[in-house]
Amino acid sequence: MATVEMKKPSLCTAGPVSSASIRDPLKVLQMIATSSYGPTGRLKQVHNGSGGYVITTSQSSALISGLSISHPVLQLLVSSIRNHISSFSDCGLFALILCCNLIDRCLTLPLSPHKIITINNSLLNMCLSYLTSEACACKLKVDFSCNSSFIDLTRSVLCSKPACMLTVKEVDYITVLVVKSFLFRVPAESTSNVLLGRTVMVPVEGLSVMESTLIPGVLIEMPGSSWNRTLDLSYMPSADIKLALFSVSLSGDFGDTGDGFVDVMDGVDPEEVMLEQLLALGKRLVDDHVHILVCQKVIHPSLKQYLKEQKMLAVERLGAALMEPLSQMTGAQSIASLSSLYSTCYGSLRQISRMSHGNKQYLHLIPCDTSVCSFVLCNRNETSLKELVRVCQTAEHTLNQLLKDPWLLLGGGCAETHLAAYVRSKSTNIHSSDLEELNCSVAEYKLASDCFSSCLESTARSLEHDGGDTLTDLQDGHFWSLPPNSTPDIILHHCTETKQKCGCQLLRKSDDTVWSMLGSAYKPFSPRSSTDVYQLFMSKEPLVLDSFSGKYNGLKVAVNTAGLILDLAYVIKDEN
């Protein structure tokens, strides 16, 4: 008998953000994000506390996807960051840190939340329009005729994750491979049905990073025991191999029959009938001169035996991940039933061969073009390997975005400090008409814009983890780091003796640079525009670069989410 209970009323909490309950968890989240940011960041170990798998990482997608938060406001924050990461895969930590900073500082301002939100929105629009304008001095246009910007961007992404434990030589090597795979992916001619190629990651544990390679085609892992006997490649033709791709299970079982019953006539053995169907299918394939059959799931042993006798190669257990790349590469349509076979759904390959890497054996399917490549990534232990795979996927995604938005931002904290300097200088010269539109006074505007700039600066400062000091120069507004406890004499000495560069490695210290500690108040100045610094970009030295679209969207997401959270008045929770 079902029991009927009275529904509990929903719980309504007023003013969730103003109470102290959010400050502490927000601080914890901020601490997690800030301590993992950048190439000298610390790693976090994510596990479930009861002997499960341990992930050691500093990458935003792995960290944030592991969190399951109970505080509703933080849930909102984390879910919007997750959304950003799923679209852009980079700058997730940047967005999280900026958002936490904004919420934290704006709560301390003596202004009403509504005013703060309006002013922040106008400041955001100011930043975004500056970033998209021609005069922006912290962005760089991608030159598609040479590789340097791709290589710099990829190197910056790879270096930003210390858990990979790569030496400089290894970073350079992997950078070249990633850029190569990007160039393979971009189609050579622009036809009407252009499709971007794919890269399949094949992780191999235990080898040195220098053994990673990029191979056109798809690699299918073969278990060692079935190697010699079942793989006889001498019957393959030398070109134009026909391939049939099955996504349905060929193991002779019924598959999913749902909840009901299957009625079978007495004397009829369903398994025998299925086997007969399978063998008939095999005969059809032989008649159609198919050379290789690839199945996502398991193939019945009798069918395998029959195909072997007919000199056809049968590969089973491909797995769902490889189906789409294989289908794109060969032009085969995956067959989902046992009865309908059309000759148009077969694909073609150029060659099949064997490959072994480390102590794993692979079947190598080589296509006629290079649209699909396999990136064999090796690293010494599992943790570093997984981190390396994640980082390479991020780098790949970032390079793909360049095709849409061919711009790059200066990295290493310089773009944030530059933007902060720009905002400060623009807001000292604000027009009274703009103030009227925003419906606030000069003092209120100054407070809010100071807060916004210092949030940007403190995001950049989070790159420093070893106790050093951070400076900005009062000419371009770039980010400089110094040993801890530097006195002015040391700063002077450091300038003249060492050849230290700024965070993005564009600028070098010179004698007449005026410095200011980052985070302290300085006299607002207007940073040099892009025409003045244009010469420096032509110098062809390696730079630290960030993805433009990632940072742009990250900035937007951070400010919008902070505004949303500051605007929350009630939280209504369903207690049932």
Binding site: R229, T257, P270, K297, D466
Partner: protein, 664 residues
């Protein structure tokens, strides 16, 4: 300066402190006792130790996973890995105590280890030719050419092959109490030892007693400089487990005989070709047999006797032999109902039982032997037994694979698949005999299966104590893998801490020179202030890295019972380092002088040479170093654990630096 206590590193130190007694050739076993389940395990390998401990923390799990993957890949060297993890964790804690920035520790230590690995390449001992014995087909005695060792002072030449290899001037080897060497190398029925003695006898003749190298070249045919016999190699790699190594050597001997070759290459011997069969019997017995040896129940005796000596036809079944078995990946439908329109009258001719159909197929193909990977149903077994067909269940997949390769039989999953391709011919069966009695244990008899071209050797071990079974298996596997890796890499290191000593001297030299030469531009990032301040800390970091090797070496020397206290061991190491510094080339010093100070194991009268007596593997050792350092640096760089507790519905963040728990 505040002392920052890094909890993760401390935990690593504690976990690895227990493997100190496993280092070296003389291991002390450890018992692990579980209070809850009252189970106990006896072990002397770091892998088994950690396996039996219930590690729930993240750090413990990371350590276990690292050791597990190393064990899976190499099966040897896990103790080195575990000990170095502990030693280097202590060293890094020392660095942190001095306030060295974390990122600098990481980059400089990695660089230091890479340079050590490069420098030890000079200690490689090449193994291009490993021969079964040192008498070639013409029955000439093959003599080693000593040209490989570098020319040093004439003092070395007095160590000729007429004398026992008494090291000159290294007094501590005389401290060694002789009664510790209890493992005798008993006279073994094989022909290998006889030939070595033969060689020694010949070497006593006047042609060989002149301590002049050139005369060696004139008489018998000379071998290339890196000639090794299997016996030398296995003894040097045995690291104290001479019985297990003897078995491995017998096994390799069988393989060589069956392949009719005199040289041992990696194609001939792979550790996966050795099977192990453990008997529980009253007498301690160990032997190696060519072919596949397994235990069957006693009632098969008559059957086996009948089949002995005949050429048998066999099939290989990759699965179970039972009515309900289906291949992997087949999901049996549970909702099938059988309905009938009319009641069946009388028995249909299709209504035969599964067993009779299967059996008929076997009889028609005149099969004598069935090897099954899984279970066999009892009725089928009895029917086959009645007809004189032997069925062996629970055969390992690699054995099936080996039989499949040499007989040409395709393994089948179902008996219905049997056709001409799945029959293998020329399989022979015999009972294993010891002297004139059959080998048996606990109601089972041992029989041996051979086939032409089968390169499989089964090693049979029996022991009285069940606790020791795992131990014996582990030591046997470790020995076989050591030989495997030595043949695979085609090189070995001199053992007894020689490699670690070279690394120590190299790092010490680096420590001194780094102050003189300024910035090293390898791992240079021009925008970080760390790169410019690195020079102040580099020397100290190199010293800490060297400390890890130092601790390893002193623990090893203490364990070899040469020194009763750590202080004596440290004195010895310092003396050696001083001598190396005075010498022109450190690697030649180590290859020639230091290795002689290693005691000759088992009191062997081995043919003298300037080769070291104890060997170490190259790849397992170097990989163990790398993995240990990577793990320590990974834990160093982690500063918090995020525990996703589904039970608690909250996120717990544990700060590694401070140890407090924070909730999200």
């Amino acid at each position: 300066m505040t002392v920052r206590a890094h909890i993760g590193l401390k935990e690593l130190c504690t976990l690895s402190s227990s493997v100190k007694s496993f280092l070296g050739p003389i291991k002390s076993y450890k018992f692990i006792y579980d209070q809850d389940t009252q189970e106990s395990a006896l072990t002397c390998s770091a892998f088994r130790l950690l396996e039996n401990l219930d590690l729930t923390g993240a750090i413990g799990q990371l350590l276990y996973e690292t050791i597990q993957s190393h064990h899976k890949a190499y099966q040897t060297g896990t103790t080195t890995l575990c000990f170095l993890v502990g030693a280097w964790s202590k060293a890094v804690l020392e660095c942190l105590h001095q306030g060295v920035p974390v990122s600098l520790i990481v980059s400089v230590m990695l660089e230091g280890l890479n340079s050590c690995i490069e420098i030890v390449e000079s200690l490689y001992i090449k193994l291009d030719n490993v021969h079964l014995s040192n008498i070639n087909s013409n029955n000439q005695v093959l003599v080693k050419d000593e040209g490989n060792a570098c020319v040093t002072s004439s003092k070395n030449q007095s160590v000729s092959c007429t004398d026992q290899p008494v090291p000159s001037g290294f007094h501590h080897s005389n401290h060694l109490p002789k009664n510790r060497m209890q493992r005798q190398f008993t006279s073994h029925a094989g022909s290998v030892e006889g030939k070595t003695c033969h060689m020694n006898r010949l070497s006593h003749s006047r042609h060989f007693s002149v301590p002049n190298r050139s005369c060696f070249l004139s008489s018998a045919s000379t071998l290339p400089t890196n000639f090794h016999t299997l016996l030398d190699l296995t003894q040097s790699l045995s690291h104290g487990n001479s019985e297990a190594m003897k078995l491995v050597q017998e096994a390799v001997h069988h393989l060589c005989e069956s392949a009719e070759t005199n040289s041992v290459t990696k194609n001939l011997f792979g550790a996966s070709q050795l099977e192990l069969c453990v008997l529980k019997s009253q007498s301690a017995f160990s032997n190696a047999f060519l072919g596949f040896t397994t235990l069957v129940t006693v009632d098969n005796y008559a059957l086996v006797k009948n089949l002995e000596g005949k050429s048998l036809k066999a099939i290989l079944v990759d699965g179970d032999v039972s009515e309900n078995y289906r291949h992997i990946g087949f999901n049996k439908a549970t909702n099938v109902k059988s309905i009938a329109e009319f009641k069946r009258i009388g028995k249909c001719e299709h209504d035969q039982s599964w067993i009779s159909i299967a059996f008929k197929k076997i009889i028609d193909a005149s099969i004598d032997l069935i090897l099954v990977r899984g279970d066999v149903c009892q009725q089928f077994l009895m029917q086959c037994h009645g007809r004189g067909i032997l069925v062996i269940p629970h055969v390992r997949p690699n054995v099936l694979q080996a039989f499949s390769e040499c007989t040409g039989a395709e393994p089948v999953t179902y008996l219905t698949q049997i056709n001409c391709n799945s029959l293998g011919c020329d399989v022979y069966i015999s009972l294993c005999m010891i002297g004139s009695s059959i080998l048996e244990s606990s109601q089972k008899i041992a029989l041996n299966l051979k086939a032409r071209g089968l390169n499989l050797v089964t090693v049979v071990i029996s022991c009285r104590l069940p606790a020791k079974e795992q131990l014996l298996e582990d030591t046997f596997r470790a020995c076989s893998f050591r030989l495997h890796h030595a043949l695979y890499d085609q090189k070995v290191f001199p053992g007894g801490g020689a490699v670690e000593l070279l690394c120590l001297s190299h790092l010490r030299k680096h420590e001194e020179t780094v102050k003189m030469f300024g910035l090293d531009c390898k791992d240079f990032n021009p925008s970080l202030w760390l790169s410019y301040s690195a020079i102040h800390y580099k020397g100290f970091i190199y010293k800490c890295l060297a400390d890890g090797f130092y601790k390893y070496l002193s623990a090893l020397l203490c364990n070899m019972s040469e020194y009763s206290s750590e202080l004596e061991a440290m004195t010895f190491i310092e003396n050696q380092l001083k001598k190396i510094r005075d010498f022109s080339s450190p690697s030649s010093y180590i290859l020639n002088e230091y290795v002689k100070s290693i005691v000759t194991v088992d009191d062997q009268e081995l043919p003298s040479s300037h080769r070291p007596i104890v060997y170490d593997n190259v790849t397992p050792k170097v990989e163990a170093w790398r993995r240990a350092l990577h793990l320590v640096l990974l834990v160093l760089q982690s500063d918090a654990e995020i525990i996703t507790g589904s039970a608690a519905h909250t996120q717990i963040v544990k700060g590694d630096l401070t140890g407090e728990l924070l909730f999200l």
